[in-house]
């Protein structure tokens, strides 16, 4: 059986080692997996401002009841 001919074993093993451990891993490291772009949720009506209410009332005119 030609697989048991050990004269080629050194070449095969020595080629496989950098291929598997070096080149394949470098290739996989260099693929960037980008996240799909997230949509920015724009809801202008909800304000989670819980610092001083008086500053909120002056800085966010839209949150006041319409007069």
């Amino acid at each position: 059986m030609p697989q048991l001919d050990t004269s080629t074993w050194f070449t095969t093993i020595m080629t496989m080692l950098p291929t598997l451990y070096l080149i394949m891993q470098l290739k996989l490291l260099n693929t960037n997996h980008y996240q799909p772009p997230l949509t920015k949720n724009s809801n202008l009506q909800s304000h989670n401002t819980h610092w001083q209410p008086k500053w909120t009332k002056t800085c966010l005119p839209l949150s006041q009841p319409q007069q």
Binding site: Q3, D5, T11, T15, T19, M24, Q25, L28, N30
Partner: protein
């Protein structure tokens, strides 16, 4: 007869130079790397497959086992691409070489064992004895479990070699039978060609499955030992 049958598995040479070197290196050329966020279809398919396989394989491991994810991903990619490329006619499959499979299996298996012995010594040694064995059987069972542990890398290598070699051999045999039948009895040729088509589909499945099994078993050994 023996010599003719197995000659496709001998290491190929071009002008007496070993051709195994470019053949083993070839699948790495087919992996595309690019820095763009959106790629062409082939690169996107490869990236999605990589992510999918990564998720499937590595979610069951803890943080320590997940440090092996690059190694296991490159392993499954390498074996799957090599096996699939070997299905082309007149090509040489490096995974039919016992040398390469042994050189893949032994270091990876030894790595998982050493990891287990070093970080979880008691746990990994406790795997040698199943629970609830009656006391007189303990020495014999420890010997049996040790032998089954030591045979794991051999089984990994020989399993991959034998499966791929057997599949290729079968395709060669049926193909040459078809050739001789085409001159004598044509209807049998059609039947045999159907057989060959089915075998090819099986071989595609086997190529992928073998890659998967190899990697899965190594990850299982890793799981047991982290």
């Amino acid at each position: 007869m023996n010599e003719n049958l197995f000659t496709s598995f001998s290491a190929p040479t071009i002008l007496n130079q070993p051709a195994t070197i470019p053949i083993i290196l070839f699948p790495t050329l087919l992996i595309l790397t690019s820095k763009h966020p959106t790629n062409n279809r082939l690169a996107t398919i490869q990236q999605n497959l990589t992510q999918f396989t990564l998720k499937q394989m590595m979610t069951t491991h803890n943080a320590k086992g997940q440090t092996w994810s690059l190694m296991l991903m490159s392993l499954i990619t390498f074996i799957a691409m090599t096996n699939l490329l070997g299905l082309l006619p007149y090509s040489f499959t490096p995974t039919t070489q016992l040398s390469m499979n042994l050189a893949m299996a032994i270091p990876l298996w030894a790595g998982t064992v050493v990891l287990g012995l070093r970080f979880k010594t008691k746990n990994s040694l406790a795997h040698l004895l199943p629970q609830g064995t009656p006391t007189p059987l303990i020495p014999m069972l420890v010997v049996i479990e040790t032998i089954s542990l030591l045979i794991q890398p051999m089984a990994l290598a020989v399993r991959l070699t034998a499966n791929i070699t057997a599949g290729h051999l079968l395709m060669h045999l049926i193909g040459s039978a078809m050739l001789t039948l085409s001159t004598t009895n044509f209807s049998m040729t059609l039947l045999t060609s159907m057989l060959l088509a089915l075998l090819t589909i099986l071989e595609i499945a086997v190529a992928l499955i073998q890659a998967y099994v190899f990697t899965l078993l190594i990850s299982l050994y890793l799981y047991n030992n982290t």
